[in-house]
């Protein structure tokens, strides 16, 4: 790592405060193919001690070559801030890259992330052992599930936007991310992006990421060595049975036919990283809202009505299923219980014997009586 001397890095942290950290060292990192941005690994002296960062920046030449880079970097910062506000603190999911700060107003704008977990997943495609494959799949799908929970669609999941450190995967590069249920823009490349995303039709949904994550999982098993292999449709016969079961339905042409991330985690027998919603919190939120409305009425009169919340245009994918059906349990139906035992019918054998004896007696009596008559 080159010694940058007395370099300092000025940026705005995720809480909005201005920071200036001393750079202890930096070196170029392997760029993300097709990104156009520069990645630099930075060792900096923060207020709490040395930290390892990744600086993602746009050079002047790169900006001239691709004017959309600014927008993509700002989008990545926006998503990073959203994730920080939802999960900030020690509970931040390691499956997602963590934004540390940014400077999008400078001549060479940049975003600072905590050091990514490892090299590109592409570097180890086809090399993972079975246990590692399971770890990779679980952590990647946990990341997808968490994004789905915060209503963000990554839309750029490829073996180069996923990092792997031998223990887990990490989703990075949120440049193309979009809120859920927004009109799809044509983004991504084959085979990583779904057909709907490539064409830019319908509305974004988590199942776009399910396709991409499934494709990454598939190629992590079969390898990335052949460009011809990337052109072909995935052949699940080439992967081991558990991955085959996991990917069943993931590459359905219709997004609605693809499984939900929770379903995929269930297939892996992995717990859902998102805890069930706490009703108490919603109730308190509603109570607060009511109190706010009451205060506003006292201030503005009884005619006050809470203004409707501004909302972006929502585009639900035409084949999007009902939300509750996505996570419905799909376990086998319980077996019908065996029929309850019926009481055994009565025997009646004794009565039958009596009847037979009576008949015999009658017959003998008649025979004897007939003899008397001659």
């Amino acid at each position: 790592m080159a010694d940058p001397g007395a370099l300092k890095i000025d940026f705005m942290d995720v809480d909005g405060g201005l920071r200036q950290w001393k750079v202890l060292g930096q070196r170029d990192a392997a760029p993300v193919p097709g990104s156009g941005m520069t990645l630099t690994e930075v060792e900096a002296e923060s207020e709490s001690g040395p930290v390892s960062l990744v600086q993602k920046s746009i050079g002047r030449e790169a900006d001239a070559a691709d004017p959309g880079l600014y927008r993509r970097l700002e989008n990545e910062v926006r998503v990073g801030l959203l994730l920080y506000r939802r999960f900030g603190g020690p509970g931040y999911p390691p499956e997602l890259a963590r934004l540390v700060g940014y400077d999008v107003d400078g001549a060479e704008p940049f975003a600072l992330f905590e050091r990514y977990r490892g090299p590109f997943a592409a570097d180890v495609a086809g090399r993972l052992l079975l246990d590692e494959q399971r770890l990779f799949q679980t952590s990647l799908l946990r990341g997808v599930r968490i994004l789905e929970h915060v209503a963000v669609v990554h839309r750029g999941i490829t073996p180069h936007s996923v990092r792997w450190d031998g223990h887990g995967a990490q989703l990075t590069d949120f440049e193309l991310a979009s809120p859920t249920a927004r009109p799809r823009r044509a983004e991504g490349t084959r085979p990583w992006a779904s057909a709907q995303q490539l064409m830019g039709v319908g509305g974004t949904c988590a199942r776009d990421d399910v396709w991409s994550a499934g494709m990454v999982i598939y190629h992590m098993v079969v390898g990335l060595n052949s460009s011809a292999a990337l052109e072909r449709d995935p052949d699940l016969a080439l992967v081991e049975p558990r991955t085959r079961d996991l990917l069943a339905g993931v590459f359905a042409q219709k997004a609605a036919h693809r499984p939900h991330p929770v379903d995929l985690l269930r297939r892996l027998r992995a717990p859902d990283p998102i805890p069930p919603p706490e009703e108490a919190a919603d109730r308190k939120f509603a109570e607060g809202g009511h109190r706010f409305d009451e205060m506003m009425r006292q201030k503005h009169g009884t005619s006050y009505r809470r203004p409707p919340e501004p909302a972006d245009r929502v585009v639900v994918d035409e084949d999007e299923p009902e939300p509750e059906t996505a996570a419905s349990p799909t376990g086998p139906l319980p077996h019908p219980p065996p029929p309850a035992p019926r009481p055994q019918p009565g025997g009646g054998a004794g009565m039958a014997v009596v009847v037979v004896v009576v008949l015999l007696v009658i017959a003998l009596a008649l025979w004897a009586l007939g003899g008397l008559f001659g």
Partner: protein
């Protein structure tokens, strides 16, 4: 300073023409001057100032001989051609060859004619260097110059090269690589790719087939007898097999006549269904609980043990990683292409990886469906149709015979009627009792129908039919009315009544058997038996494949996957290496040897074959460390280095081909008869070789000097020749030199070289007397610490013999 690297030649080449011997140069000498023979390429105008250097070289214990090829026009000042260090001129192990002009001149010494040379200077120098680097020629040249004053001679040569040319070499390399790697077709997987690997009828193949579940042999029972799961299985099988006796039990006469509590047929069915359900559900629960078992999870192991599953694999199975390794190596030796092997390995990895027992749970429901269990729990009703016309007719017929057999009964009408009534009661009662008995024995869900709730009307109908029959039989005795028929004899009556009783029994029994047969035909007895067997097979297969062999299968899958990625790395590295060499070749500004001196293009196919063999050996050599590693992390550490290692080996092989030729075996290659055959074709059967090496020393050949410089040479007498031929051209012992009819005779003084690239003659012509000035160098700089790289700073200033450092103390003396 150019120092030959990589191939570790036996002769060290130091090209110091354009370099000052700074510290770097001395250190290089110190590192490399330990191979006994040193070929130094120097310039005439710098020769005099480098006396100390040559003294140090000659004083090094490890150096056994020094050959100096000095290049450049004669130093004409003072009437001498060369100024030489006395160390070089006096040493028994040193020689100096002078090449005044690398273009050379075609000089016929015998006739005294000289013609302008047409050779390429760089190529001439390179070929001469390559020839002198051959240790046999090096030693012979040094020995021959001992008889030459001052050990200085002008060098001339004529050489035939066995080099096939870089273009042909690159083509052969590319072609060999394509054959080694395999075409695009091989890269496409096919359904039998995994089976290809596991189908080999060899020991490792058997192991892999067992792991892949394709061995075709019955696996040992993985369930411990008496333990819960085995008990469930055995109970299900026993109860289901017990259903096979159901029909015979129902048809048994004793069962009809038995009055005590009897086993219920429907109960047996229900019990079998319950046993099947219990076995299926227990197995299903275990499938779920042990899903994803990796062979090592202690909690799951304990759970399986409690259920009675033998978790430990058969130790006689063998190590799957080892088996896979042996199989891949044997396939590699069978020249299966790398692509094909990689595809097969990936397919095998996908096939052999355990899928988890949970994935097999749906199979249990398929093999033993709920519908079947429902049919066993609630079988179809037993139908006993009493109103069949034939049955009623039989009752009437038997009654008729009875009525007939008893005769007139009594003389008076009243008496006959009373007795007839008694007979009717007996016959109809007996028949009705039989029908009622069968009805009472009808199997129902939880036992027999019993005597209660008998069908009244059918019984009455049967009684009526029998009564009518009796009446009809008795009526015979009363027709014509008042007729006086003698009664039948008593024995006849008794016999007829016995026949009637037997007929009743057989008729009713036949009716019962028919009903039993129809009912049993509707029962799912065979389906239950099949379900029990299939269920057992599924549980056995899953227990073996997913639990007992879980660890071995995972190891095999991981190893196969790793080997596949290694082979793909190797393919990539070889591809890149060959592409780079071709690019480098295409971009070479001044190709040194685009074509060989002779070329032998007609042997291109054989040459390509040898190159392919070498590439296969190279790949095996690169992969060799891989086979030494065991499964897991250590294997991974090796795989990362395969690419780098392959590139280095390929570069070395390229250098080997260019410098030493294909005729010489590379370090990584084994003995290859094709290489010998090729060398035979190129060298042993070539008449040009014999003509070349039989040239007289004074014949026309290229002398590396200017025409004007010929005057420095002693044109008459004193010239010596060094003839050299590759050893492969030597006729085999006993062949008498005429084995093939084309074999050739060689002069007795031929030097046989191990390397197979060159054949030819070197001509060493002494310089005239006085043309060499042997003087100590003036203002010689103090010697550098040139042993620093080898042994440390322990040289002595001004010493003609450098002291032996720690690294040289045991060196061989010159």
């Amino acid at each position: 300073m150019a120092v030959t690297e990589g191939m570790e030649p036996e002769v060290l080449l130091l090209d110091i023409r354009d370099r000052d011997l700074g510290d770097e140069g001395w250190a290089a000498v110190g590192r490399h001057a330990d191979r006994g023979r040193v070929l130094i390429v120097d310039r005439v105008d710098r020769l005099a100032g480098r006396g100390p250097f040559y003294e140090r070289i000659l004083g090094t214990r490890a150096v056994r001989a020094v050959l100096c090829l000095v290049v450049g026009p004669a130093d004409d000042g003072g009437g001498v051609a060369l100024r030489l260090s006395p160390a070089m001129a006096a040493s028994e192990v040193a020689a100096t060859l002078w090449a005044g002009d690398l273009t050379g001149v075609e000089w016929d010494m015998d006739r005294g004619h000289a013609y302008a040379g047409r050779g390429d200077p760089d190529r001439n120098l390179l070929q001469l260097q390559q020839v002198l680097l051959l240790p046999e020629i090096f030693d012979t040249v040094v020995a021959q110059t001992r008889d030459i004053p001052d050990r200085v001679a002008s060098v001339g040569f004529t050489v035939m090269s066995g080099h096939f040319g870089d273009e042909l070499l690159a083509d052969a390399l590319s072609g060999g690589l394509e054959r080694l790697i395999g075409g695009a077709d091989a890269a496409r997987s096919h359904p039998g790719a995994a089976a290809d690997l596991a189908a080999a009828d060899r020991s490792p193949g058997r192991v892999l087939a067992v792991l892949a579940g394709a061995s075709g042999h019955e696996p040992p029972d993985p369930l411990v007898p008496g333990e819960p799961l085995a008990a469930r299985r055995d109970a299900a099988l026993w109860h289901v097999r017990d259903l096979g006796t159901l029909r015979s039990e129902l048809e048994a006469v004793t069962a009809l006549l038995r009055t005590g509590p009897s086993a219920s047929a429907a109960g047996k069915l229900s019990t079998a269904g319950t046993a099947l359900r219990a076995f299926r559900d227990d197995a299903g629960r275990l499938f779920d609980e042990a899903d994803g078992f990796d062979g090592e999870d202690h909690a799951v192991r304990d759970r399986l043990r409690r259920a009675g599953v033998r978790v430990d694999a058969d130790p006689r199975l063998g190590d799957p990683a080892e088996a896979l390794r042996d199989l891949v190596r044997s396939e590699f030796r069978r020249t299966v292409s790398l692509h094909t092997l990689a595809v097969r390995l990936r397919a095998y990895a996908a096939h052999v990886a355990p899928g988890g027992s949970g994935a097999h749970r749906p199979r249990l429901a398929r093999e033993c469906p709920d519908r079947l269990l429902g049919e066993l729990s609630g079988p179809s009703p037993f139908l006993l149709d009493p109103m069949r016309a034939g049955l009623l007719a039989a009752a009437a017929a038997l009654g008729f015979v009875a009525g007939l057999a008893l005769g007139p009964l009594a003389d008076s009408l009243m008496g006959a009627l009373l007795r007839l009534l008694g007979v009717i009661v007996v016959v109809a009662g007996a028949w009705g009792a039989g029908v009622a008995l069968l009805h009472a024995k009808v199997p129902e869900a939880y036992g027999e129908h019993g005597w209660a709730g008998l069908p009244g009307r059918p019984l009455a109908a049967h009684g009526a039919a029998a009564a009518l029959g009796v009446l009809a039989g008795h009526a015979v005795w009363r027709v014509p009315p008042g007729g006086d028929w003698p009664p039948p004899p008593l024995p006849v009556t008794v016999f007829a009544l016995l026949v009637v009783a037997a007929g009743m029994g057989f008729t009713l029994y036949g009716w019962w058997r028919g009903a039993v047969a129809r009912w049993c035909g509707r029962l799912p007895v065979h389906a239950a038996d099949d379900a029990a067997r299939r269920l057992t097979a599924v549980v056995t297969e899953v227990a073996v494949q997913e639990w007992v062999l879980a660890k071995a299968r995972r190891a095999a899958a991981d190893t196969a996957q790793t080997y596949a990625s290694v082979l793909e790395d190797l393919i990539r590295a070889l591809h890149l290496g060959v592409t780079e060499q071709r690019t480098r070749l295409a971009g070479a500004a001044a190709p040194v040897s685009r074509r060989g001196a002779v070329g032998f293009p007609e042997y291109g196919a054989e040459f390509a074959q040898v190159v392919w063999d070498d590439l296969a050996d190279l790949a095996a050599h690169v992969l060799d460390p891989l086979w030494q590693q065991m499964y897991g992390g250590a294997l991974r550490d090796v795989t990362w280095r395969i690419e780098e290692r392959a590139r280095a080996e390929l570069d070395d092989y390229w250098d080997h081909l260019r410098q030493r030729g294909v005729h010489e075996r590379p370090p990584f290659a084994g003995d290859n008869p094709r290489r010998t055959e090729l060398a035979e074709c190129v060298w042993r059967r070539s008449p040009q070789v014999a003509e070349l090496v039989r040239m007289q020393v004074g014949a026309r050949m290229t002398q590396l000097c200017d025409q004007d410089e010929l005057r420095y040479l002693r044109a008459t007498g004193g010239a010596v020749s060094v003839r050299f031929v590759p050893r492969v051209a030597q006729p085999p012992v006993g062949a008498g030199g005429h084995r093939t009819g084309q074999a050739i005779r060689f002069p007795g003084d031929v030097v046989w070289t191990a390397a197979s690239q060159f054949a030819g003659v070197l001509r060493l012509v002494p310089l005239r007397t006085g043309m060499v000035d042997v003087t100590w160098a003036k203002n010689a700089s103090p010697p550098h610490d040139w042993t620093a790289g080898a042994g440390g700073p322990n040289g002595t200033a001004g010493s003609a013999v450098p002291p032996a450092g720690p690294g040289q103390g045991g060196g061989t003396g010159g």
